[in-house]
């Protein structure tokens, strides 16, 4: 079955992987694909250094939800803002709210308490999906979450169940419980792992899968192998000296193929492969990569009926 169709049915898509493998561009590609399949889609980036807007060709979000196309929005989320909002909503008294927000205990708690930031990120997605939103924000069917890099990505996915274990009562406990359920439910939540066909990212992808199996008892829905060098050129004729460019191309491609080969044994799930393209970061890259993604997804669907 076509993975785009499958992923489009879900409410939350968490995109994770090692730093530098192209999580943000893959999140943007997925967001566009899901929106094109008819879902009102929001792509959420959690990184103080915004880059999603560059890819989408939109103005910087600065925390706000920004329209990026038909049925498509983007947002750069500041977890701390979400957290402070929760405090404001729970404490109606202005004086007390200010006291809490300014107290050193809260400051430390908000930056340091285990799982709190992760909970705020996921909680924000859940509220939007539930239609609990401020006036002026769009209705959303699917949230694509460009999650922090691997270690933190796992922390994101395990935070609700851990928190539900530690906090057993009150609104946070309820929210943690609901989020744990959402993440458990592969009908509603999809996990997409992004990697490159190089040793370190592949190893991290495998470790990520193992810790997902162990800690949230589930497999990722899709693996995206990003940034592949083009298929190898023909070998030079015997005695012919190979151009430096062609030789580098061949060796880097061989490295890609070696890693893809070793993946076959250790990664049973579906995977999509994306080429490295001679295009700068921006809407043109996004559009072309979207085509390549759809193509790879279609051929995957043919291979695995």
């Amino acid at each position: 079955m076509n993975p785009i169709e499958q992923l489009s049915r879900r409410q939350l898509l968490v995109v994770t992987g090692k730093g530098g493998v192209g999580k943000t561009v893959v999140s943007a590609v997925l967001g566009r694909a899901v929106a094109a399949a008819g879902r009102r889609t929001l792509v959420v980036e959690v990184d103080p250094r915004e880059s999603l807007h560059q890819m989408m060709g939109t103005p910087p979000s600065g925390g706000a939800i920004v329209a990026a196309g038909p049925r498509l929005w983007v947002q750069n989320l500041k977890p701390r803002q979400v957290l402070d909002q929760v405090v404001r909503e729970n404490l109606k008294l202005e004086l007390l709210t200010r006291r809490v927000l300014e107290s050193p205990v809260y400051q430390q708690f908000a930056t340091g308490a285990p799982g709190l930031k992760e909970l705020a990120i996921l909680g924000h997605a859940l509220r939007l999906l539930r239609g609990l939103r401020e006036p002026g924000t769009p209705e959303i069917d699917t949230v694509v979450l460009d999650a922090p890099a691997t270690g933190h990505g796992v922390a994101l996915l395990t935070a609700p169940s851990l928190t539900a274990e530690v906090i057993t009562q009150g609104p946070f406990a309820r929210m943690a419980g609901e989020l744990a359920e959402l993440i458990d439910d592969s009908q509603r939540c999809g996990i997409v792992v992004v990697t490159m066909a190089e040793e370190m990212p592949m190893e991290e992808a495998r470790e990520l899968r193992a810790s997902l199996n162990r800690q949230v008892k589930r497999d990722p829905e899709l693996l995206v192998v990003n940034g592949l060098y083009p298929p190898s050129p023909p070998m030079p004729a015997p005695g012919e000296r190979e151009n430096g460019l062609v030789s580098l191309w061949r060796r880097r491609r061989q490295l890609n193929e070696r890693e893809l080969g070793s993946l076959g044994e250790s990664w049973p799930g579906p995977r999509v492969e994306l080429p490295q393209l001679p295009l700068d970061r921006g809407p043109a890259l996004l559009a072309t990569l979207g085509r390549c993604f759809a193509e790879s997804a279609r051929s995957l669907a043919r291979e695995t009926p």
Binding site: L96, Q108, G112, G115, L162, V166, G244, L245, W249
Partner: protein, 367 residues
């Protein structure tokens, strides 16, 4: 100004994820041992390949493991694991078995996956300090966790001192709960206190607060020592003998990242050595290149590599323009294969040294 000349007994390698920090740290370590210094490379999570190249395994999490290398200096490798260092510290400093058990079995401690006031990151710096203080190594090369975490890591000592002085700890150490496990303090605040209690209970739950309070109480005997050590660690990181090497990815897109790092390091008063732009696509003559591919999803290697070569060259020029003239910037080319053994690590280290020396010659010629 050299990367590993012995003038900087501590070299700290920083940079974003996936730029090749760990490999370069190992390469610099191999070179340093070849130059006759007893060297330690401390790293966070090296790849399988690098562990194999150095010949070390999981045991390096517990102690420094010697690397078999035919060189005048010795080479050791150690893997940093914040959690294990923390556990070890508790084992060591807990006054008795009961206190140790209380901390280790505390649920809050077990769930401390984040970093309350930077304690967890601080643990890694603590280990670095131990090694630097013990003086067994003439050269220590520290590889840091990627990107923002590296900054968290460097700021850990300052943050922990801030935490200790913020009053948060004093509050946390107050006897919050009476014998029945009820909050004591809030009753004194009158109606506001009752509201605060309901809020706390509603938002985080009393159970978590009790666990936290218990954790801090169990941990209290360690904190004063922490403050002192944290200040010493700060001093070590800012010492002119400690040199930071910033590793960056190629291409214009990475420049904001690189500048962000360089500025943060300088603002914080650390001594930034060379910026190493790693994995730069070389430029090639394009004679005999075939026409570009008609299928946008299947570019040929000629198109891709010549585009990448131009992009990376533009990136280098842009970066040099944005940095001061005194800031050394060197580039290393994308290798056909990643280093898989000590010999290829040594070759990479030599290449790095050569590039730094070339930069120095270039600057002295043009100034």
């Amino acid at each position: 100004m050299s990367l590993i000349s012995g003038r900087h007994p501590l070299v700290i390698v920083v940079g974003s994820g996936g730029v090749g920090k760990t490999t370069l740290a190992a390469a610099a370590g191999v070179r340093s041992a070849h130059e006759g210094r007893d060297t330690l490379v401390m790293t966070f999570d090296p790849s399988m390949r690098l562990k194999q190249a150095l010949g070390v395994g999981e045991e390096a999490k517990l102690r420094e493991v010697p690397v078999t290398l035919d060189a005048p200096g010795t080479l050791h490798a150690s893997l940093l694991d914040a959690r294990q260092t923390f556990d070890r510290l508790i084992e060591r400093y807990a006054p008795d078995d009961e206190a140790r058990r209380r901390v280790l079995e505390n649920r809050f401690y077990q769930h401390l996956s984040g970093s309350l006031g930077g304690i967890l990151e601080y643990m890694a710096v603590e280990r670095l300090f131990e090694v630097a203080a013990d003086g067994r190594y003439g050269q220590v090369i520290l590889d840091t966790p990627p990107a923002r975490q590296a900054l968290d890591f460097l700021e850990a000592p300052a943050r922990i001192v801030g935490f200790l002085e913020s009053g948060a700890l004093r509050v946390a150490l107050k006897p919050w709960f009476d014998e029945k496990g009820r909050l004591k303090a809030t009753s004194r605040w009158g109606p506001l206190g009752r509201r605060a209690e309901r809020f706390l209970d509603g938002v985080v739950g009393m159970e978590l607060l009790r666990d936290m309070a218990e954790f801090f109480q169990a941990f209290a005997p360690l904190f004063e020592g922490f403050r002192q050590r944290a200040n010493q660690v700060e001093e070590l990181l800012r010492s002119p003998k400690t040199q930071f090497v910033l590793v960056a990815g190629p291409g214009e897109e990475r420049i904001p990242d690189t500048l962000f790092f360089a500025r943060r390091l300088e603002e914080a008063g650390y001594h930034l050595g060379p910026i190493v732009v790693n994995r730069v696509h070389p430029r090639f003559a394009l004679e005999g290149a075939p026409p570009p591919s008609a299928d946008p999803c299947r570019p040929n290697g000629w198109e891709l590599l010549s585009w990448a070569g131009e992009r990376d060259r533009r990136g280098l020029i842009e970066l040099a323009k944005l940095l001061s003239r005194e800031q050394p910037v060197v580039d290393l080319p994308l290798l056909p294969d990643e280093p898989t053994g000590l010999a290829s690590l040594d070759a990479l280290g030599r290449q790095l040294e050569t590039r730094v020396a070339e930069w120095e010659r270039y600057v002295s010629r043009t100034s």
